[in-house]
Amino acid sequence: MRNLRAVYIIWYRDILRFWHDRMRMMGAITMPLLFLFIFGSGLSASMGLNNTAINYIDFMFPGIIGMTVLTSALMGGTSLVWDKEFGFLKEVLVAPVSRASVATGKVLGSATIALIPGLIIMIFAPIIGVDFSVITVLKLLPLMFLLAVSVSSMGILLATRMKSMEAFQMIMQLLMMPMIFLSGVFFPLKGLPAWLNFLTKVNPASYGVAPIREVVLGKDMSAPFSINLFGHTMTLWENVAIVAVFGVVMIALAMWSFSHQE
């Protein structure tokens, strides 16, 4: 009970801070919007995906949603590094609550906040001419949240090990680009050279993006882009399971890391 309350209050504080500072979110949506408008206007026609009946923008849009959530979730660790730098973390660490609940609160806060820019991107669907129903949004939410929780756990885990904001941001930049580019946001994960193929398969983000695309495009339309693992075509639920397992491992490590810092 006490630990649940701790999770809640730690989560709540991060939401409160986010709300005070909501304009910062502009940073999180500028990049995805830029991609959308560049590729959405004209360029998309010339970059059509051969041998499929699908528009490039329709292909890319769900990927951009995934990318937005992923970027924000990874950056969620920033809040923990701030807490360290400004000393607030001590207040939390000396409180009579378990370190696991502190880690959980941080992860959930980061994940919740990561959903918001993802939702904002969806508002642009009609403007760009992508079909999007309310039902689709409702189906997407849990998938986005799962991706957000898993990636946030990774962000928080890394943040527990970082001593300074500079170090944290450097590591994030290093991770972010490959994770996004090799996750199927911009091109289908098919017919790639062996080493690239390998990287896309070990990238957890690939399994987060695929289900989002499947929900947005529908099963049939997205079939050509599904991930093939060891000769097996991954279903939506198999992708979800991989993201979930990755998330569980990350959050367990984050909890462990939290309990083992002085």
Partner: protein, 327 residues
């Protein structure tokens, strides 16, 4: 376990080769104000960190409220309040939001939460500013808010790590009023560190710590009696001559400090009138003071407490104030 608020036995904390805390033992009774006095780097913060479960001892034992700081961390944390040496507020939130966070995480029952928050905020005179963001607070207000926060959950033992560092004298006095008031009203045990001598005097008992070792523990009065003699400072028109006269006539050692001469004499108050009458060198000014903890520290350690490296203390100040700026 005894009914001591804090018990420490042969405590050691090593950082690599450096023994930040080097085999110290002491205890603090219930309701006592206990001061840890020592220069920068003496090991005060390290001791507090161990007592508050934020660092593990390398060896030795420590218990707070009868709970072991290594094996009963949860119970220790439940019984303590803490004001850290470095800032630890969420400056993006308001004063009251900081306190609400604390009340929730310390499980202050929701029925009394609002009332407790109002009470502690009134005590540190911040109730009117409760809805302002902490960024807009002065250094003294932040410190008072931290103190209020440390008290919010009614801790049995309150740890204050340099609670008045970098504050103006007026705010320092205010904070001391709260501290002594707290001891009287609530019977809270207070463990505080300081490197201000005048502050240490206000504690019931003090431990003098230097280089990770405790060199003396006693009441301020008893400690000063160790030095015993009164300290007389004179200024004359010829200090060299005066020094010679004092040495030859009274067999007392003198020490020059700027343009003054300093010497020690037991029963100084009775000594002075005769001294002035019979002294041959012309005296420009004369003063007598009781020994201070400065003198005790000097006697025990062979160096002055204020002899800390200027760069070190500057850095510490810069850290405190630098953080309060902007962001």
């Amino acid at each position: 376990m005894t009914n001591k608020a804090i018990e420490v036995i042969n405590l050691v904390k090593k950082y690599g080769q450096l023994a930040a805390v080097n085999d110290i033992s002491f205890d603090v009774g219930q309701g006592e104000i206990f001061g840890f006095l020592g220069p920068n780097g003496a090991g005060k913060t390290t001791t507090i960190k161990i007592l508050c479960t934020l660092a593990r001892p390398s060896s030795g034992q420590a218990a707070v409220s009868g709970f072991d700081v290594v094996h009963q961390q949860r119970q220790v944390r439940e019984s303590i309040g803490l004001v850290f040496q470095d800032p630890s507020l969420d400056e993006k939130l308001s004063g009251i939001q900081n306190l609400r966070f604390h009340a929730m995480i310390y499980d202050v029952p929701s029925k009394v939460r609002g009332q407790r928050i109002e009470q502690v905020l009134n005590m540190v005179e911040l109730w009117d500013r409760r809805n302002n963001k902490v960024t807009s607070y002065s250094g003294g207000m932040k410190r008072r808010l931290e103190l209020a926060r440390g008290l919010l959950h009614n801790p049995k033992v309150l740890f204050l790590d340099e609670p008045t560092l970098g504050l103006d004298p007026q705010t320092r006095n205010r904070i001391w009023e709260y501290i002594t008031g707290l001891q009287k009203r609530e019977g809270t045990t207070i463990f505080l560190t300081t490197h201000y001598m005048d502050e240490a005097e206000k504690a019931n008992r003090i431990a003098i710590i230097d280089n990770g070792k405790i060199v003396a523990i006693d009441t301020p009065t008893k400690l000063k009696e160790m030095v015993g003699k009164d300290i007389i400072t004179i200024r004359t028109d010829d200090n060299a001559k005066a020094a010679e006269e004092i040495t030859s006539r009274y067999q007392l050692e003198t020490r020059a400090d700027n343009n003054e001469l300093i010497f020690e004499k037991a029963g100084g108050e009775e000594f002075l009138p005769a001294f002035i009458k019979e002294f041959n060198t012309e005296i420009l000014s004369i003063s007598l003071r009781r020994p201070s903890l400065d003198d005790v520290f000097l006697k025990l350690t062979g160096h002055e407490i204020r002899q800390e490296q200027a760069s070190g203390s500057f850095k510490e100040m810069a850290k405190r104030f630098g953080r309060n700026m902007g962001h």
